[in-house]
């Protein structure tokens, strides 16, 4: 409830919210720090921080490489927690963890939630954990008041959406298309129909992600979604032009 309320408050006076994605430890925690600062200052409303995993099966080449490079430089899960604690103290927007289930499972589910809560994390995105596999996870999410972000996809039937929504909290993550992160999505008529179906299936705020890359994309989502998610694009930007370029890019999206 915490996360949903916070987002709804932020939505007052804004057409649409912006969520961005960073991969922790890539290219370094240093750079993460700077990027987040710029994002927050440029008006990002929510940030998902990915704890890297060696097998990121739902990620495309950009984020996949970021995961691997981060791990190759020695990033540990505990460091991700410390970093989160630091960041959430500094910035007053919601921060989420995005990671694969094994990171949580191996850490110990309850311990993970406990630490996440201590670190000020308000939501969790776990792309390989459908609710059927997450009974204890969902129960813990409830007791630790951390929103489990469920995912709608273009292949989800209405029935499936209604089922997912029962477990969801904070917001629903609508992936814009089939596939992995990174490639551009065409936000066409078919997409609009799909988004309408999503809307009909939940009362939670709707975030749209996967391939959202430009002001134009975001304009198209206004009125149809509550939050736009920028993923791979900022990672590429940092790779190409450095952390400094992020602020300007984010500002240009609004």
């Amino acid at each position: 409830m915490q996360l949903e309320q916070q987002l709804r408050e932020q939505l007052r006076g804004k057409d649409i919210l912006l969520m961005t994605h960073i991969v922790l430890g890539y290219p370094s925690f240093e750079v993460n720090r700077e990027v987040i600062k710029q994002m927050v200052e440029s008006g990002v409303d929510c940030i998902e921080m990915q704890i890297p995993f060696s097998e990121p099966m739902a990620d495309g080449p950009v984020i996949l490489k970021a995961n691997q490079d981060s791990l190759a430089m020695g990033t540990r899960v505990d460091e991700c927690f410390s970093f989160a604690a630091e960041i959430t103290r500094q910035h007053n927007i919601p921060f989420l963890f995005m990671t694969y289930y094994n990171i949580i499972f191996k850490y110990g589910e309850e311990k993970f939630f406990e630490h996440a809560q201590e670190c000020g994390i308000t939501g969790l995105i776990v792309p390989d954990l459908p609710p059927e596999m997450g009974t204890s996870f969902l129960a813990l999410a409830k007791s630790y008041q951390i929103a489990p972000i469920l995912i709608f996809t273009p292949t989800s039937t209405d029935k499936r959406m209604r089922e997912l929504e029962k477990y969801g909290n904070g917001f629903i993550y609508c992936v814009a298309r089939r596939g992995v992160t990174g490639k551009k999505s065409s936000l066409d008529q078919e997409f609009n129909a799909y988004l309408q179906r999503c809307k009909n299936s939940t009362k939670l705020p709707l975030a749209v992600g996967f391939g959202i890359q430009s002001k134009e994309d975001i304009e198209r989502l206004k009125g149809k979604a509550d939050m736009a998610v920028i993923g791979s694009r900022t990672i590429q930007l940092v790779e190409a032009e450095g952390a400094e370029a992020v602020g300007q890019f984010i500002a240009s999206l609004r």
């Binding site: 490489k65 292949t155 089939r178 992995v180």
Partner: protein
């Protein structure tokens, strides 16, 4: 398998939401087919006209005398079309694909055997086909790549991670979530999200069903021990299932000992303390991973065993002490291969040679009036580049150098 795809503590289906619907359809088609005797009949008839089922059970007289213990029988999956048990699984899934009306298949491959089998099935069933193969494995198993391409498949070398089997699996999933509407992912072993572990084991069960009948015919009673190598676990499940619960039959899975259990360079999941429970590649099992849950690099002379996870069904049987797990090092495996070639004129795949090595350690102590079965999951002549290399054969090296000189002109 419970309704969530678990076997005891293991298994499940940890899949991206975009695959939910396609898994529903797959499970439904699988359930229907499993209930439909006509499906199994079609499957058996396909396997006996296109592949070579039933495959023989060979009495290894010379090896038996050599070790002086129990009688050694070899189940000859190497005689399948494409040279390994992989054909059983692939042809079965091919029939399902036809029923589901999909037009494209993808697969991961380690040794190349599963890729070969899938490319073969795709050619026969007129399906589009893409094979993901770790870059390192592409290098180890180039001939298989050549044949896959010749059969019309596209082979994509995977350059991420450790560039082996597990990375090929991730990449195949990435393809699948993108092309889910027309594409079926032909999983190659008894791992991955449910229903794959059970479904693959079902198609492979033909091995054990035949073996049971054959051993009764030749030996007059059940075997005392059955040995199978364990990569993902499909050939092991294939031969074990029929004998689970048979009084006096011990089932032994032999894992890849690589440079040794203490070396860190191996792929031993169940018979060493190096693996811990985890969830990856869509399922929960014992993985070789670090304390953070990051998967470790594995090593085996056999590409097809060089894998971080293991069938959840085997993890369950291990939990329940219904299957014993052992390992064999690269060196032991090469010795077992050498002996088998010289004594029986049979060339097991490097993967299968693990089962032979495992059996050879024990068979001399077993009673002469008992019999054991070794599951020869595949033939080794595909592995010429690895085997000739591992034996450091000088004339092989010379031959390659000569050929290269010709090509460099």
């Amino acid at each position: 398998m419970d309704h969530n795809g678990f076997f005891g503590n293991w298994g499940g289906a940890y899949i991206p939401e975009v695959l939910h619907q396609t898994f529903q359809e797959l499970k439904e088609e699988y359930r229907k087919s499993r209930r439909d005797p006509a499906f199994w009949q079609e499957y058996i008839s396909l396997m006996s006209t296109y592949s070579c089922r039933p495959t023989p059970l060979t009495y290894a007289e010379n090896l038996t005398h050599h070790f002086g213990g129990a009688k050694i029988y070899i189940k000859r999956e190497d005689l399948n079309h494409t040279g390994a048990h992989k054909a059983n699984n692939v042809m079965g899934q091919g029939l399902l694909v036809k029923r589901m009306g999909k037009t494209r298949v993808i697969a991961e491959t380690g040794a190349g055997q599963h890729g070969m089998a899938t490319a073969t099935m795709a050619a026969k069933f007129g399906l589009e086909c893409t094979i993901y193969m770790g870059e390192e494995d592409v290098l180890r198993q180039r001939p298989n790549v050549f044949w896959m391409e010749k059969m019309g498949a596209t082979v994509i070398p995977v350059k991420d991670g450790s560039r082996t089997l597990k990375d090929a699996i991730n990449q195949a999933f990435r393809d699948w979530v993108t092309n889910v509407d027309n594409t079926h992912y032909v999983f190659g072993t008894a791992c991955g999200p449910a229903p794959f572990p059970e479904m693959v084991s079902w198609f492979q069960s033909v091995i054990g069903n035949e073996a049971a009948e054959q051993i009764m015919k030749y030996h007059g009673k059940m075997p005392s021990h059955i040995y199978a190598c364990v990569g993902g676990g499909s050939n092991a499940m294939g031969i074990f299932q029929r004998f689970l619960g048979e009084q006096g039959v011990e089932l032994i899975g032999v894992e890849a000992g690589g440079h040794g259990a203490d070396s860190g360079a191996h792929a031993i999941r169940l018979s060493s303390p190096d693996a811990t429970p985890g969830v990856a590649q869509g399922y929960k099992t014992m993985f070789l991973q670090n304390d953070d849950g990051q998967m470790k690099h594995t090593h085996s002379v056999a590409a097809g065993l060089d894998y971080v996870g293991v069938s959840p069904i085997l993890s369950d049987l291990w939990d329940k002490n219904q299957v014993r797990f052992e390992s064999a090092t690269d060196t032991e495996v090469m010795q077992a291969l050498d002996l088998t070639m010289k004594k029986e004129g049979i060339i097991p795949a490097l993967e299968s040679s693990h089962a032979f090595a495992g059996a050879f350690k024990e068979v001399g102590q077993l009673a002469k009036d008992d019999a054991i079965i070794i599951n020869q999951s595949g033939r080794g002549d595909k592995d010429i580049f690895t085997i000739a290399h591992a034996f450091e054969d000088p004339s092989w090296k010379e031959f390659i150098i000569d050929r290269a000189r010709e090509y460099s002109k």
